[in-house]
Amino acid sequence: MSKAFLVLDDGTVFEGESWACEGETFGEAVFSTGMTGYQETLTDPSYHKQVVIMTAPHIGNTGMNSSDEESKKIWVSGFVVRNPSPVVSNWRSERTLEDDLIANNVVGIKGLDTRAITRHLRDLGSMRVGIFSNTELTREEMIIKVRKSPQMAGSFLADSVSTLEKYIVPAIGEKKFTVVALDLGIKAATPRSMSERAIEVHVLPATSSMTEIMALKPDGIFLSNGPGDPATMVDAIALVREIMAAHIPLFGICFGHQIIGRALGFDTYKLPFGHRGINQPVKNLRSGVVEITAHNHGFAVAAPVEGNFNTIYGAGFVSHICLNDGVVEGLELLESPVFSVQYHPEAAAGPHDANYLFDQFVTLMTNAKVSNA
C-alpha cells in the first residue's frame, strides 16, 4: 500500500492510498450514488473510459459472483472508494472485489474524502481525472498528464465495447418474437429481460448493416446502452433512420435512446455531471406515475417537453422526464412503432419499476404482427 493521488483536470488533487492495481489511469471522473450494485456498475460497458467514484463509503462487502456480472470484464478505467471491505460476507460470493480489479488491471484508490470529490464534480461538472499511485511524478506533472488525456465529449467508443461476433440469447419458454439487439455496450440483464418475455435475442455488433439485420427477419430491433458521445455515432444514426423508415418496431435505451433522438433530428448535449445512480425519479408523462429508476448517462436529448413534436417519421412526444432536473428521459412516436428511454429498464443494478417497458416493446411487436398479418 502506497500513497496515491486523484488528480482532476482543474488542478485539484486528493490524496489517498493505492488499492487494487498500482499505476496510472485516466478517464472522465463521474460519481455513482448507488448504495448497492458495485459489481453491476464495474461490469457495465457504459463506464468504459470513466473513473467511477462511489459515494457509498463501504464497497466490496458482498464480494463478486459470476451471476451478477453484466459483461465478461470490468470496464471502468479507475475505481475510487472510501472504505473497501477487508472481508467478504455473502452466501453467493465467489471472489473478492480487489482480486477482480487486479485481474482486470484496474487502478484503484481508497481512503479519500469521496464526498468532497463528489461535491466538487457536482459544482464544477464532470471532468478528466487521473489516478497515480506509487509515482515519482510531481503534482504539476500529474496535472499536465491529465490534461493531455482524451475528453469524453467527441469520444467514439462503441467499437471497443461491442461484441465482435453475433450471439443468440434464447427465449425462455416458447419463442414468440425475434429481436435484433445492436450491441453498443449491452449489459447481460437486457437480453435476459427480453428472453424472459419469450423473445429470442440476436445480439449483433455495433457495425452491423441493415441487410445483416433484416436477414434475421426480426420482429423488433433494440438499441442498447453504451459509452461515448452520441454525436459521434454517425453510422448508427443513419441505420436507425433506415429502421424507422421500414416501420420495424424499435426500442432504444440510454445511448440507444440518444441515437434515436439524433436520428429524429434532435440535438444531444452533455449534462454538467450526469445522472448516475439507482434512485432517480422519472415521471411517465402519459400515466402520471413516478418510477424509481437506474441511470447512467452523461449526455441527454434536447427535445421539447410540452405538447407533441413533428419529425419526418411523424408526430411524437416526450414520454418521460427526470423530476430532479427536468431532463428528457423518454421519447415516443405516435405514427411509427418507435420508443426509447434514457435510463435502464433492465435495472441491474437498481429498482425494477421500469421493466414494464419491455412489455411495451412486446405489445408494439404484437401489434405490428397483427397489422402485418
Binding site: E40, D113, R115, R119, G277, V290, I292
Partner: protein
C-alpha cells in the same frame, strides 16, 4: 390532484404516555403532522393524554384535548369539534387501535367522519397475521410456517407440529408485547398464556423459529397515485430472535448485493399495494437465511413507526411530514424535498455515510427482571450516530448511549475468551461488548459467528477496531498517523487515553496540535448529488467541512441524549422550547443531540442541528466549529436534564460560556455539605442524615435518627439504589447490596419522613425576582419517587400560610444557589402530633425538571422558553411584559390537573417467567406520564387513571388487601366504596378489621392457602378470572410478601388497575364517586387557558 379541498379540519390522535415500545418518536411524528396540517390552513384538533409532548403545546393545534384516548372521549370530541377527517396513523399503535375501536363501534359512520392516511380494511390486512400471511403468499413471498391459536390447548398442539423452539406472537399488540420464544412446553404455557391475555382478539401466532437469520427492515411510502418509494433500508446487527427495538441496527443495509436488495424492495412494494395502504408509510420486516438467501416476510406495520423516526433522521426524509401531506391529498411528486429545495419527494434517499442505532436499557431499575433479550421489546430509549464508516458510526453510537461499559474497552481482567463465547450466545444488552472483547482475546470470527450469528462483515469491522486498539496499546509513543487512523475509526480521546495511559487532556492537546479535528458533513438525502439547504450535520474525521459561516450570534442548546427512566421526553420538550424562544429572540439556534426519536433532532426545530454524542469531546468540537463559523454567545445546559448538566463544568473549564445557572451553582446544589450550609444560613430544615463507611456506623446513625430511614449509595441518579428500611435486618441487607454497587463509596442515611406529604415546586429566578410557577402535591406519600408519584396542581391540602412559607423557602434557595433560570425543589410537609405543619427541604435541582411541561400546560406559561430567555439576559419583568408570564403574581393553574406516572411492569419478567413486583418505591421506574384536567379533583384523578391504566370501574367488585399499618387510614375510603355499591373482597386481616368497623366484605382465601374444599377461589383466582375490576394492595417492604406479589402481578397481567398506596386508594374513590352516573366533561387546553380562574 394536489390538496383535497374538502378537508377543512382534522382530528389527530396522539400516542398517549411514553411506554416501552412507543416512545417520543410519536411526539416527533405527531408534531410534524400538526405543523403540516396547520401550514395547509387546516384546523387541527388533537387528542393526547401525554402532557410532556411538544404536540400538546397549545400553539400546535387549534383545539388540544389532553384527555384519555378512549373511544368514548374521542366520540365526544368529534361531536363537539365536527372534524372532517381523523388522522390516526401517526400516533403509534394506540392511535391505530383507537381508530379501530371507533370503526367497530360504528362511530365513524354515525358521526360522519372519515379516516385519512389508512383505511380500516388495510389496517386489518396489515395487522391480522393470518390475513397478512395469505397476502404474502399471494404476491409470491413466503412466511415462516405458523399456526394461529386462540386457546392454550391449540398452542400446545401447534408447537408439536412446528417443533420447539417456537416463536409466540400475540395479535394487535405493539413493541412485541407478550411475545417470546418458547423452547419447551413450560415456556409456551407462560408466554402464550400472557400473549392470549394481552391480545385484544385473544389470538396468538406460533411460528417456526428463524432465530439467527439476518434481519432487515424497509421503510416504504405510497401515495394515492400508486407511486411507491423505499425511504430506507435498515439491517439489524443482532440477528432474528431479538426485537428490532432492542437490536443494534445499521442503515443502509450493508451485507446484501443489489440482486438481493431488489428482491426485498419488490416484495415491499407488492405488499404495500396488496395490503392497500393507500397513502402513507409502512414498515416491512424481513428475515434472510445467511446460508442460502431464503427470504421470509416477518411482518408489516401499516403506520408510521419507531423505525420510521429512525429512518427519517437517518436519511433526512421526514416520513411523518410526508405521510401527513399524502393523507390530505398530495402525491409524492407534488411535495418538495425540504433539503435540496429543488427536487421532489418522489425519490429514494441515498446515503454516503453509515448510521448506527444502539438501544438503551434500564435493567438496573428492575433487578428481578430477566435480562435476556427476546422478541418482547425491553429497551427504554436509543441513541443514533452517523459516521463516514461503520466503525466511526458504531463507536460514536456506543458512547452516545452514555452508559458505563457501553463504549468498547480493552481491559481483559477477569474475563476469558471461553467465558465470553458462552456468554455471548445468550443475547443481552452486553452482547456486542462481549463479542468485541472475545475477538480481542483471540476468538475467531467463525467462533463468534457460530455463537451469535452476527454477520461476519460486522465482526471483521470490530476486529479492525481491536487491531487499532492493539497497535495503540503496544506503541511506545503514539504516532500521528495512528492517532489519525484511530480517530477516523471512531475512537474517543478517552478511549485512546485508556489505551496509552496518557491523560485525556494530553491526547486532546496532541490531536489539536497536529490539527486533527473532525469535519462536519451534511445529511442531504442524495449523497451530495444536489446542494443541501438544511444544515443537518454530523462529525467525521475526513477532509472537507461543510459548516457555513454566519453573522447572527448563536446559542448552542444541549439535548438530553437517549431516553432513559428519569430522563425522557419532558427534557426534550424543554430543549425544543428553548430553540423556538431563542430563534424568535433573534439568535441562531444550534441543537446538539443524539436521540433519533425526538422533536429536537428534527432539522426543522433549530437553525442548525448537530447529530452528535453528548460527551465533552464531541460537544467541544461542535462548539469549535461553530465559533469558527460566527459568534457564539454560549451554551444552554440546564434544560436537557442530567446529561448536559454533567457537561457544564467541563465546558466551562474549556472556556465555554454556560448561559444561565452557573456550574458552581449546580455543584452547590448537588454537594450535601455546601447545600446543608445554605439551608442552615436560611434556617430551613432538612431531614436529619448521616454518612456511614461501615455497617456498624450505619446502624448507629439509623438508631440516632430513628427508623424508618432512607438509605442510598452516596452517588445516585434517578433514585437508583435507594431503599426505605424499617429495621436493622433490612438495613444490613441493603448495605450488602449497595456496597456491591459502588465499592468504597459511603452510604447516605436520611431520616425517612413517614406519612409526610411531598411537594414539588417549579420556579424561575432571574437573580432578583422569583416566579413561582407551580406548587404540586404528590398523591402518594413521601417515599415514592417523585417521578412515579401522581401529583396534583394546585395542591389541595396546603394552606396560604404554608404556601407563603414554600414560596419564601424557594426564593431563598434560588438566590442562595445562584439560579438564573429554572429550579425545582422537593419539600416534605409533616403534620406532627400537635397538628403543626413543618416544612422540610428534600432536594433542590437548579435545572428544568420533569414537571416543567405539566406545569406549563396547567398554567399556560411556557417555563422552558422563559428559562432560555432568562439565560440569555432577559428579566422576569421583561417576560411579564412579553406576555410569556402573567403581568403580576405567580403561576395560576387553570382547573385541577393531575399527573399520573405509567410503569412498565408488564414488560419485565423474572428468569422463571413470572412477573416482577409492581410496588412503588424511592427508585423511579416509570417510563411516561399522563395528565387529567377537570374542574374537580375526583374527575381529574379519574381521567388520569383512565389515561394511564384504563377506566376505573364504576360498579362491580373490588379486592382489598392491606398491610397492618395501612388498615386504619383505608377504612374511610373502603366504607365509601361499599356505600357506592361496590362489593368488597378481602383477605383475613383486612376482613376482620373492616367488619369490626362495620364495613362488610367477603372473605377470600390467600393464594398460599390454595383453593378451598368446595372450589372457593383464592385472591389470585379472583383477579385472574376477572371477578374484580380494581385491586387495592398495600405492601410493607418490597418483594418479601409472596401473597402480595402474586396478587399484584396477577393484576398487571390481567390488566386490572392495581393501586398500592392508601393515598392512591383515596384518590381513586374520590374519582369513582365523582364519575358515577355521568361521563367525563371535556375541554381543550385552549379553553382552559382562556378561563380566568
Amino acid at each position: 390532484m394536489p390538496k383535497d379541498q374538502s378537508i377543512k379540519s382534522v382530528l389527530v390522535i396522539g400516542s398517549g404516555p411514553i411506554v416501552i415500545g412507543q416512545a417520543c418518536e410519536f411526539d416527533y411524528s405527531g408534531t410534524q403532522a400538526c405543523r403540516v396540517l396547520r401550514s395547509e390552513g387546516i384546523r387541527v384538533i388533537l387528542i393526547n393524554s401525554n402532557p410532556a409532548t411538544i404536540m400538546t403545546d397549545p400553539e400546535f393545534a387549534d383545539a388540544t384535548y389532553i384527555e384519555p384516548i378512549t373511544p368514548e372521549i374521542i366520540e365526544q370530541i368529534i361531536i363537539k369539534e365536527k372534524p372532517d377527517a381523523i388522522l390516526a396513523t401517526l400516533g403509534g399503535q394506540t392511535a391505530l387501535n383507537a381508530a379501530m375501536e371507533l370503526y367497530e363501534r360504528g362511530s365513524l359512520e354515525r358521526l360522519g367522519v372519515r379516516l385519512i392516511g389508512a383505511d380500516i380494511p388495510a389496517i386489518k390486512r396489515g395487522e391480522d397475521r393470518e390475513v397478512f400471511k395469505t397476502i404474502v403468499e399471494k404476491i409470491g413471498g413466503s412466511s415462516a410456517k405458523s399456526i394461529i391459536c386462540h386457546a392454550m390447548s391449540e398452542c400446545i398442539a401447534g408447537a408439536h407440529i412446528l417443533n420447539y423452539p417456537v416463536v409466540v406472537r400475540p395479535s394487535f399488540t405493539m413493541g412485541g408485547l407478550g411475545s417470546g420464544i418458547a423452547y419447551n412446553q413450560n415456556d409456551l404455557e407462560l408466554i402464550a398464556g400472557a400473549g392470549l391475555r394481552h391480545s385484544p382478539t385473544t389470538e396468538v401466532l406460533l411460528e417456526e423459529s428463524i432465530i439467527g437469520w439476518k434481519e432487515f427492515e424497509l421503510e416504504v411510502m405510497r401515495d394515492h397515485k400508486d407511486n411507491v418509494v423505499i425511504v430506507c433500508s435498515i439491517e439489524n446487527i443482532d440477528p432474528m430472535g431479538v426485537h428490532t427495538g432492542d437490536s443494534i441496527t445499521v442503515a443502509p443495509a450493508l451485507t446484501l448485493t443489489d440482486v438481493e436488495y431488489q428482491k426485498l424492495r419488490d416484495l415491499s412494494i407488492k405488499i404495500i399495494r396488496e395490503v392497500g395502504v393507500a397513502t402513507g408509510g409502512c414498515n416491512i420486516q424481513f428475515a434472510v437465511n445467511p446460508a442460502d438467501g431464503r427470504i421470509i416476510v416477518i411482518e408489516m406495520n401499516p403506520r408510521v413507526s419507531r423505525s420510521s423516526a429512525l429512518a427519517s433522521k437517518a436519511t433526512g426524509f421526514p416520513i411523518a411530514k410526508i405521510a401527513t401531506k399524502l393523507a390530505i391529498g398530495y402525491a409524492l411528486d407534488e411535495i418538495q424535498n425540504d433539503i435540496t429545495k429543488s427536487t421532489p419527494a418522489s425519490f429514494e434517499p441515498t446515503l454516503d455515510y453509515i448510521v448506527v442505532k444502539v438501544p438503551r436499557f434500564a435493567f438496573e431499575k428492575f433487578p428481578e427482571a430477566d435480562t435476556k433479550l427476546t422478541t418482547t421489546m425491553k429497551s427504554v430509549g436509543e441513541a443514533m450516530a452517523i459516521g463516514r464508516s461503520f466503525p466511526e458510526a458504531l463507536q460514536k453510537a456506543l458512547r452516545s448511549v452514555e452508559k458505563k461499559g457501553t463504549s468498547f474497552h480493552w481491559n481483559t481482567a477477569g474475563v476469558t475468551k471461553d467465558y465470553l463465547l458462552s456468554a455471548m450466545a445468550i443475547p443481552t444488552e452486553h452482547r456486542l461488548q462481549q463479542i468485541q472483547l472475545g475477538l480481542y482475546l483471540g476468538a475467531s470470527v467463525e467462533e463468534v459467528f457460530s455463537a451469535t450469528k452476527v454477520d461476519p462483515w460486522f465482526l471483521a469491522q470490530i476486529v479492525a477496531i481491536n487491531e487499532i486498539a492493539q497497535q495503540i496499546k503496544s506503541a511506545a509513543s503514539l504516532p500521528d498517523d495512528l492517532l489519525r487512523i484511530a480517530k477516523s475509526n471512531g475512537f474517543s480521546d478517552t478511549q485512546i487515553s485508556e489505551l496509552t495511559g496518557q491523560s485525556r487532556i494530553d491526547i486532546t492537546a496532541t490531536r489539536h496540535r497536529i490539527g486533527l479535528r473532525p469535519v462536519f458533513k451534511t445529511v442531504d438525502t442524495c449523497a451530495a448529488e444536489f446542494e443541501a439547504h438544511t444544515p443537518y450535520h454530523y462529525s467525521s474525521y475526513d477532509l472537507e467541512s461543510e459548516v457555513i459561516p454566519r453573522t447572527k450570534p448563536a446559542v448552542i442548546i444541549l439535548g438530553s441524549g437517549p431516553n432513559r427512566i428519569g430522563q425522557g421526553v419532558e427534557f426534550d420538550y424543554s430543549c425544543v422550547h428553548a430553540a423556538f424562544a431563542l430563534k424568535e429572540a433573534g439568535f441562531e439556534t444550534i441543537m446538539i443531540n443524539c436521540n433519533p426519536e425526538t422533536v429536537s433532532t428534527d432539522y426543522d426545530t433549530s437553525d442548525r442541528l448537530y447529530f452528535e454524542p453528548l460527551t465533552l469531546e464531541d460537544v467541544l468540537e461542535v462548539i469549535y466549529a461553530e465559533e469558527l463559523a460566527g459568534p457564539v454567545i454560549g451554551v444552554i445546559a440546564q434544560l436537557g436534564g442530567q446529561t448536559p448538566l454533567g457537561l457544564a463544568r467541563g465546558l466551562q473549564d474549556a472556556g465555554v460560556t454556560i448561559l444561565g445557572t452557573s456550574p458552581d451553582a449546580i455543584d452547590l446544589a448537588e454537594d450535601r455539605g455546601q447545600f446543608g450550609e445554605l439551608l442552615e444560613v436560611n434556617s430551613l430544615d432538612a431531614p436529619t442524615f448521616g454518612m456511614a463507611d461501615t455497617f456498624e456506623e450505619a446502624v448507629a446513625i439509623a438508631h440516632r435518627i430513628t427508623y424508618p430511614v432512607l438509605v442510598r449509595p452516596s452517588f445516585v441518579l434517578g433514585g437508583r439504589g435507594m431503599e426505605i428500611v424499617y429495621d436493622d435486618e433490612s438495613l444490613a441487607g441493603f448495605i450488602q447490596k449497595a456496597t456491591e454497587i459502588t465499592p468504597n463509596h459511603p452510604v447516605l442515611i436520611d431520616k425517612f419522613l413517614d406519612d409526610a406529604i411531598e411537594i414539588d415546586v417549579d420556579a424561575l429566578f432571574d437573580g432578583e425576582e422569583l416566579y413561582l410557577a407551580g406548587v404540586m402535591e404528590h398523591i402518594e406519600e413521601a417515599g415514592v419517587h417523585s417521578g412515579d408519584s401522581a401529583c396534583v396542581l394546585p395542591s389541595y391540602s396546603i394552606g396560604s400560610a404554608l404556601r407563603q412559607e414554600i414560596r419564601s423557602a424557594t426564593e431563598k434557595l434560588a438566590r442562595g444557589i445562584g439560579v438564573r433560570g429554572l429550579i425545582n425543589i422537593q419539600f416534605a410537609v409533616v403534620n406532627n402530633s400537635s397538628d403543626i405543619e413543618k416544612l422540610f427541604v428534600l432536594e433542590a435541582n437548579p435545572r428544568a425538571s420533569r414537571t416543567v411541561p405539566f406545569v406549563s400546560k396547567a398554567t399556560g406559561n411556557p417555563l422552558a422558553k422563559c428559562a432560555a430567555l432568562i439565560a440569555t439576559g432577559k428579566k422576569i419583568s421583561d417576560l411579564r411584559g412579553l406576555g410569556l408570564l402573567p403581568a403580576s403574581g405567580d403561576g395560576v393553574p387553570k382547573g385541577i390537573s393531575v399527573k399520573e406516572a405509567v410503569l412498565p411492569w408488564n414488560r419485565f419478567r423474572r428468569n422463571d417467567g413470572t412477573g416482577v413486583d409492581s410496588v412503588l418505591g424511592p427508585e423511579m421506574r416509570s417510563t411516561g406520564e399522563v395528565m387529567g384536567i377537570a374542574k374537580t379533583f375526583g374527575e381529574a384523578y379519574a381521567k388520569s387513571q383512565t389515561a394511564a391504566f384504563g377506566a376505573l370501574p364504576l360498579s362491580g367488585s373490588v379486592f382489598l388487601s392491606l398491610s397492618e399499618r395501612d388498615k386504619k387510614s383505608a377504612l374511610e375510603p373502603a366504607r365509601t366504596l361499599s356505600q357506592l355499591g361496590f362489593k368488597l373482597f378481602t383477605t383475613q386481616g383486612t376482613h376482620q378489621y373492616l367488619s369490626e368497623s362495620g364495613v362488610s366484605s367477603e372473605l377470600v382465601r390467600k393464594h398460599s392457602q390454595g383453593r378451598g374444599a368446595n372450589g372457593e377461589l383464592t385472591a389470585v383466582d379472583l383477579i385472574t378470572e376477572g371477578v374484580v375490576g380494581l385491586v387495592i394492595n398495600t405492601p410493607l417492604g418490597r418483594g418479601t410478601r409472596f401473597d402480595g406479589w402474586m396478587i399484584r402481578t396477577a393484576a398487571i397481567q390481567r390488566g386490572v388497575p392495581c393501586i398500592t398506596t392508601i393515598a392512591g386508594f383515596k384518590a381513586a374513590v374520590a374519582g369513582i364517586s365523582d364519575l358515577q352516573g355521568k361521563s367525563f366533561g371535556i375541554n381543550s387546553i385552549q379553553e382552559w387557558l382562556a378561563t380566568s380562574e
